[in-house]
């Protein structure tokens, strides 16, 4: 189907874990280890969906989200925030800025993250169909 996920996550433990589960789910994964790299790969790779961590070096996830939503090239790519920050304020900020979902990593088994991603992808492609 040519669906590519971009995982922007600085912690190698998390990055490897999510990379694996999506590979198990037969999805193509591209990874980036900081905000700048993530933004760059979002622009060049045109991923179908982005999983974006918040606390990251160089550029934090909320800043990346701002840039993604400001760029016509990337603004339609659905973004799921993936974080372990406790504050619900960040969740709200992210949703206001245009993220489709906010996932607290510790609250979900990897498989349920995949389920959420698949649901969003399904909804997104349904929306896309009439336009394309």
């Amino acid at each position: 189907m040519g669906k590519i996920l971009l995982i922007v996550e600085d912690d190698p433990l998390m990055q490897r874990m999510y990379e694996k589960i999506f590979k198990f789910a037969k999805l193509d994964v591209v990874t980036a280890s900081d905000g700048e790299e993530g933004l760059e790969k979002a622009r060049t790779g045109k991923p179908t969906l982005i999983l974006l961590d918040i606390m990251m070096p160089k550029m934090n996830g909320l800043q990346v989200l701002d840039k993604l939503k400001a760029d016509p090239e990337t603004k339609n790519i659905p973004v799921i925030m993936l974080t372990n920050l406790a504050g619900e304020k960040d969740a709200e900020t992210a949703l206001v800025k245009g993220a489709v979902k906010y996932i607290v990593k510790s609250q979900h088994d990897p498989k349920s993250v995949v389920d959420i991603v698949l649901q969003i992808l399904a909804a997104h492609s349904r929306e896309d169909v009439p336009g394309s």
Binding site: M14, M17, I21, F24, M55, A86, K105, D109, P110
Partner: protein, 508 residues
Amino acid sequence: MDSSPAAASPNSSNVTSDSWRHVADWIIDEIPDGICCIRRDGVLEYANPAYRRLPGVATDSSIGLFEQSFYKNADLWNKVQKVFEGVPFEVEVQCQVADHLRKVYHVRGTPQKPQNGRGCERVIVVVEEITERKQMEEDMEHYIKNIRNEQIRFLASINSLAIGFVIIDTKNNILIKNGAVDTILNLQDMEGSVLLMGDISYIEEKLKSDTFDLHSRWQEAIVQRKVILEKEILYGSKFLRIFISPVNVSDSQTIGAVMLIEDITEQKVLERGKDEFFSIASHELRTPLTAIRGNTSMIKDFFAETLPGDVREMIEDIYVSSVRLITIVNDFLDVSRLELGKIQYNTSSFSIADLADEVLKELLASATEKKVALEMENTTESLPHVAADRDRTKQVLFNLIGNSVKFTQNGGVYLSINREDGFLRVNIRDTGRGIAKANQSLLFRKFQQADSSLLTRDTTKGTGLGLYISKLMAEGMGGKIWLNSSVEGVGTTFSFTLPVSPLAATHT
């Protein structure tokens, strides 16, 4: 005055017939002060009635008795002798007239006009009783001293305060101000004269900001007679807390206001540190735990068949442990943030019945596994929406229903919702083992598990923070939570309330 023998005998009937003399005698007789006249040879030549009434004064004219009685109290006799040399005296004499009666006299000795330049022949002694006046003076002195001491104590106390203390009258004047005010507001550099007392307006000027106007605030305190607390005012680089209270002297009269100014900068810095600590702690603790949970969960999901049974069990245990640890970390973080008042409630209007349904569905698996029924009762009534934070409410429901499922072995857990003036009340009834009376009062406290001491804690049942968190959250959203009833062996009912949404959309 002459010194004729006629005057030698006191109260002599042999007085001159001159009318002025009569008058003078009469005055001297009536005068309340004791007056006497002593001759150089020691004979008491004359004494008026008041003098004779003095305590210890003999009725005869022998001077010796004076020395032994009245005069013995002081060095009076020597003083009298000196008067004959032309040195008058004036002295206060205390006289113990009875066991508990002490009198005070003012005694004045003046020489008769000297003759032939060699001293005088007679001394006039005037004795005035001043006991009462003296007492009054002493009382007054005592009183003033007391006031002064009180004042010193009062000023010393307020000056030793680290909190700024100001008393203002109703007309803008500072009545009392301590040094801390200057320190906190950095007023030391200002002109000393301005600082002393005077007008409050220079402090008002200093504190004025877009959000705070001291003048109107303390006016408000005085006029409306209410206590005002400003929890946090930014002043330069400092954070201040200001408390203003009217000073009422009676039900109808307010004479001014007391203002306390506290520098809470340090406190704020600490608090901020705590905030940061919690969010970092939450992030740093949860990330490795998430990796343990996630990877074990993937092993379970994708490699279970390839593993020997023991290893599978070990993986399962690691997984369960990580989930339990994550729950504990989350509980601790919730408690810290709730206690600090750092949790924001996103109030919205929603159907609590729908939310309860959601929670029941999520818990159904664990209930079914235990063969415990999990049901909603009486949903026929049309219920209004509640105004609360949906996620937090879900957490409360989860805690309560989860607890009930946990402690019920037979029967079931039943939910009911009803209206109760302005609130919706949710009841969670179970047929579980019940809670002993002695433990009921501890239920909503931190770390309490019903029927357990520290050593008998059932650590698989969680941290004992669930009810405490639920209570803080329910109260934080304007509701209440309580143990409705619990009978050992029969079951337990918990209830909580949440305010009905002002939008009052009914749930159908």
